[in-house]
Subunit: 97 residues, 7 copies
Amino acid sequence: MNFQPLGDRIILKPLEADSKSKGGIVLPDTVKEKPQEGKVVAVGKGKVLDNGTVQKPEVKEGDVVLYAKYSGTEVTTKDGEEYLIVREEDILAIVKK
Amino acid sequence: MNFQPLGDRIILKPLEADSKSKGGIVLPDTVKEKPQEGKVVAVGKGKVLDNGTVQKPEVKEGDVVLYAKYSGTEVTTKDGEEYLIVREEDILAIVKK
Amino acid sequence: MNFQPLGDRIILKPLEADSKSKGGIVLPDTVKEKPQEGKVVAVGKGKVLDNGTVQKPEVKEGDVVLYAKYSGTEVTTKDGEEYLIVREEDILAIVKK
Amino acid sequence: MNFQPLGDRIILKPLEADSKSKGGIVLPDTVKEKPQEGKVVAVGKGKVLDNGTVQKPEVKEGDVVLYAKYSGTEVTTKDGEEYLIVREEDILAIVKK
Amino acid sequence: MNFQPLGDRIILKPLEADSKSKGGIVLPDTVKEKPQEGKVVAVGKGKVLDNGTVQKPEVKEGDVVLYAKYSGTEVTTKDGEEYLIVREEDILAIVKK
Amino acid sequence: MNFQPLGDRIILKPLEADSKSKGGIVLPDTVKEKPQEGKVVAVGKGKVLDNGTVQKPEVKEGDVVLYAKYSGTEVTTKDGEEYLIVREEDILAIVKK
Amino acid sequence: MNFQPLGDRIILKPLEADSKSKGGIVLPDTVKEKPQEGKVVAVGKGKVLDNGTVQKPEVKEGDVVLYAKYSGTEVTTKDGEEYLIVREEDILAIVKK
C-alpha cells in the first residue's frame, strides 16, 4: 500500500466483519451504525489548527481501531486490496493490546 | 473492556433502565428525551481546542453520569456487554456520591 | 438533588406556572415562547472558550431566573421532583431580589 | 422591572406603535419587517468573545433604540407591563436625542 | 436623520432608481439582484472581531456606494424619508468622485 | 469604471465568451460550471481576518483570471459596460502571461 | 498549462480512468465515490489561516495524488487538455513513488 495520507487523514485496512475482531467486538455486517474495526496502515501529519499548529494524530501505524460506519472513502488497489481513507475524527477508540 | 477512546470521547456502561438508578432518577425506557444514566469506564485525552491546548475531561473513570438519550455509538462486545461511546459534550451531569 | 452539571450547564427547579412568580411575571402555561421562571440549584464550572479559558457562570445557586421555554433536558428523580438541565445560554435574566 | 439580563442581552420597553415615536419613525403595526422602537430599561454585562474578553454593550439604560421586528422574547409582568428581552445584535441603531 | 447605527451597521439613503446615478450605473427597478446605489448618512463604530479589536468601517458619511439589493432593513421617518440600515458586509463598492 | 471595491471584493471585466481567451481556455456559454475568464479592473484592501490583520489580495489590476461561474454581482454602467463584483474566494487562478 | 492557482487551490491533470494508475488503484469510471488519481501540475501559496499565517501545501508539482471524485472545477484548454482545479482539502493522499 503506497499511499501517504494528507493532513488529518488516516488509512485503515478494514477488518473482515466475520473474522474474530481484535477488540472482541461484534462486527455484524447488518447492524446499523455499529462501529467497525480496522487496522491503521498509514497516518497523515495531523490536522492544522486555526493558528497553524499541527495536532499530531493519536493513532499510529499498527493500531487496531473502532471507527464510525459509513465514514471515509474506499480505495481498491489493483491486487483487490480494499482500504479506507478516513479522518481521525471518525476514529472512536483504539483497541488496547 | 479494552478500548481507549480518542480525543473528547468517553466510554459509558449504560445503566439498565429498570435497575435502581444511582442518581435516583427515573429511567423510563419510553419517555422521550429523558436523560439516561451510565457509568464512565474510559475517558479520552480530551478535546483539542483551536489553539492546540487540550481541554481535560471533567469526568473520570467510575463516575456515574447523566447523558442525553440517543447520543453516541453503541458497541457490543463478544461477551454481549453493551457500551456507548459518547462525546463529553453529550454528558449533562455527574451523579454525586 | 445530587447532580453536578458539566461545563456551561445549569440545573434549575422550574417554578410551578400558577404559583406567584418571584419575578412577578405571568407564567401562563399556554402562551407560546413566553419565558419560564426557575430557581438555580446547581451550576457547572462554566463554558470552555476556544483558547481554553473558562467563562465563569453569571448565575449562582439560589438565583431565580427567566429561561427560554422548551430549552434544556428534563430530569425526574425517584421522589417525583422535576429538574431541568439547561445551558447558561438559555437563561435570559436573573430576577433581582 | 426587576430583571438583570445575562451576557449580551438587553431588556427593552417596546414603544406603543401609535404613540409619537421618539425617533420620529413610522411605527406601523402592520408593515412587515419595519423596525420597532423601544426604550432600554436594563443591559447585560456584554458578550463574552472567543478569547474571554467582554464586549461592553454600546447601548445604556434610557436610550431609545430601533430594533429588528420579531426579535427577542416577550415577558409580561403581573401588572401587565410588557418587556422584550433581545440580544444587542438585534438592535439596529440608537435614536439620538 | 437622528439615528446612530450600532456596531458594523451603516445607514444609507437609497438613491431613487430613475435619477441619474452618481456612479453612472443603471438602476433598473426590475432587474433581479442588480446592486443599488445609495448615500452613506451614518456609520457605526465598526465590527467587533473575535479578539475584541474593532474593524473600523471603510465607508464614511457622504460616500456614495453600491450595495446588494434586498439587504438591510427599511426605516421610514415621519416626514416620509426612507432610509436603509445595512451591514457593511452588504456594501460592494464605493463610487469614486 | 469608478468603483472602489470594499474588503475582499474584486471587480472584473468578464471576457466575452467567444473571444479568444487569454488563458487559452474554452469559454463555452453553455457548459455548466465551467469557469469563466475575466480581467481584474479594481481590487479591495483585502479580507479582514478574525484577529484584525488584513489578508492582502493575491490578484492585482490587469491580471487575467479564471473565476467560478455564477459568482458575484453584475453591475451595468450607463455606457453599457458590464462588470462583475466577486469575492477573491471566487477566483480560481491567475492566467500567467 | 499557464494558470497559477490561488490560495489553497491545486491544479491537477486527471489520469485517464483506464490507464494503469500510478498508485496501482482501480479507477473504475462507474463506481460511485471511488477516489480518482491525478498529477499535480500547479500549487497555490496555501490556505490563509484565521491569524494570517499561511498553511503551506503538503503536495508539490509532479506528485501523483488520490482525490475525492466530483470535487473541484474542470477547465478545458483550447488544445483540448482537461485540468481540474481542486482545494487541497479534496486531496486524500499522495501516491508514494
